[in-house]
């Protein structure tokens, strides 16, 4: 039983350390578009579609 608790604590610590040091840092950028037929697309940074939408949004966010 003690071994099991120790293992659970170790696994928890390992997950925390992974998220803390190796996980994504800072706010995640993304864009999503939905269409009339119910379909939708998610665009990640680096794609042409994302950069186009992001440039328009950046201009709108500028005060």
């Amino acid at each position: 039983m003690r071994k099991l608790v120790r293992l659970a604590v170790l696994v928890g610590l390992a997950i925390w350390a992974w998220r803390r040091f190796a996980g994504p840092s800072g706010p995640r950028e993304r864009a999503g578009v939905s269409y009339a037929d119910g379909s939708s697309v998610v665009l990640e940074p680096g794609s042409v579609g994302f950069e186009r939408l992001a440039s328009i949004a950046r201009a709108a966010l500028r005060p």
Binding site: P27, A31, Y35, R52, L53, I56, A57, R58, A60, L61
Partner: protein, 130 residues
């Protein structure tokens, strides 16, 4: 509820929304949280440009119903329903589901009186026929 009233209610309810604009089917500004009309027009222009760009992304040329762009500095949400378009700017890392829900509720709040009016007109016409 008119568009200005709906927007006022929206900004009171949602702490995440910093500014918003409602556009008519022709792209004209129906209401805005900006007192400065130049800023309202700029947001309206960006909204229409964003919808246009999103439309071009789809090869089937389907109507765009929603666009959301989340960036480090903040996010821009656009929703289209019943010929109207609503756009809102939030700060960074928004709860997108909640923002979209609030925007949809706002749009429906504007649309309702017209629908009721139409229904009443149809009923009145039927009564006259009888």
């Amino acid at each position: 509820m008119d568009a200005a009233e709906a927007l006022r209610e929206l900004t009171e309810l949602s702490s995440q929304i910093e500014s918003a604009v409602v556009l008519g089917a022709d792209g004209s500004v129906l209401a805005s949280t900006h007192e400065d009309s130049t800023r309202a027009a700029a947001l309206a222009s960006s909204t229409l440009e964003l919808v246009g760009a999103a439309f071009e992304l789809n090869t089937q040329r389907l109507e765009v119903t929603r666009v959301e762009v989340e960036l480090e500095d903040g996010a821009l949400f656009v929703l289209r329903d019943g010929g109207r378009t609503i756009a809102a700017i939030t700060g960074p890392d928004p709860t997108s589901g909640l923002v979209v829900y609030d925007l949809r509720t706002c749009l429906h709040g504007i649309a309702e009186p017209e629908q009721k009016k139409k229904r009443r007109t149809v009923r009145k016409a039927k009564e006259e026929d009888e």
